[in-house]
């Protein structure tokens, strides 16, 4: 599970709003990779058509976003910087994947759907609320704005999946 939705706001704790463009790029790329991992796991565990279709869409969409991000970084000659947020995302994903693997199939479908909704809500909050306002490079900002449209669609699609696998 991703914990961004309730990211701590204490002034002495790290804050996503303090990240620079290269750190934001790293965190976003990491978040994409995590959702692709979730999708591959769902495809391995589920025989539900709705879940499988959603998972395939997540793979193709997030791979497309990351491919464009890599192309832009290459063009800019920039290297993404690992940071506390990327590390937190990864550790949260490891826990979520372990939890998912331990579930029975029907429970796994419901858990995947619920997590996809929560994950996209959290990422959308982060992208639109924290990242886009502070990104300095206009091309990077444009890519995030383009990607945010996709992720908002995913959130709506995830809501439908949650209702379908109840």
């Amino acid at each position: 599970m991703l914990y961004l939705g309730c990211w701590p706001q204490h002034p002495l704790w790290p804050n996503p709003a303090d990240l620079n463009d290269l750190q934001i790029a790293h965190a976003a790329y990491t978040a994409d990779l995590i959702d692709i991992r979730y999708a591959h796991l769902a495809l391995a565990l589920s025989s539900n058509d709705t879940v499988r279709a959603f998972a395939k869409t997540m793979i193709s969409d997030h791979e497309a976003v990351n491919a464009k991000a890599l192309a832009l970084l290459t063009k800019l000659g920039a290297t993404p910087e690992d940071n506390f947020l990327s590390q937190s995302l990864n550790s949260g994903a490891e826990a979520k994947i372990a939890e998912q693997v331990a579930l029975k199939r029907a429970d796994s479908d419901r858990a995947y759907a619920a997590n996809e909704l929560a994950y996209h809500q959290a990422v959308n909050g982060l992208v639109n609320g924290a990242f886009i306002p502070i990104i300095e490079n206009p091309e990077v900002k444009a890519l995030f704005e383009e990607a945010s449209v996709i992720f908002l669609q995913h959130e709506g699609h995830a809501e439908m999946m949650v209702a379908a696998v109840k």
């Binding site: 279709a53 395939k56 869409t57 193709s60 969409d61 497309a64 976003v65 464009k68 383009e146 990607a147 449209v149 996709i150 669609q153 709506g156 699609h157 439908m160």
Partner: protein, 121 residues
């Protein structure tokens, strides 16, 4: 839409890369055939088919061009045919044939839907 990939490939070859907008890459290879009817353009952008309703006739063709970042499909809601994934900056063309489904959607993003209105030739 015509039924199935073989038909799609044949149509793509029939229409040919030469008549496509330079911005988009087509799967077509041959360039020496023509289509008798109108070629209708449908843009895919911002998770929508544009236009969402298109009036066509038998013998026309429809060319979908994807300006969005991730792949899209134009797939008949009766499941009988689809374009397969259309990547960003790619196009795919179908001939309008008898009995084709008049509602289609993107299989990856089911909220993307559009309609065809069929008129006599």
């Amino acid at each position: 839409m015509s039924p199935g990939p073989t038909r799609r490939e044949a149509m793509a070859a029939l229409l040919g890369a030469a008549i496509l907008p330079a911005l988009y890459t087509s799967r077509a290879a041959a360039q020496d055939a023509v289509i008798s009817g109108t070629i209708h353009e449908v843009a895919i952008h911002s998770f929508a088919f544009d236009p969402a309703e298109l009036t066509v006739a038998i013998g026309d063709a429809i060319r979908w061009s994807n300006a969005d970042l991730s792949p899209r499909t134009a797939s008949a809601e009766d499941g009988r045919c689809d374009t397969g994934p259309i990547e960003q900056s790619e196009s795919c063309t179908f001939e309008v044939t008898e009995g084709m489904a008049l509602s289609y959607q993107c299989l990856f993003h089911l909220q993307m839907r559009a309609k065809l209105l069929l008129v006599p030739v």
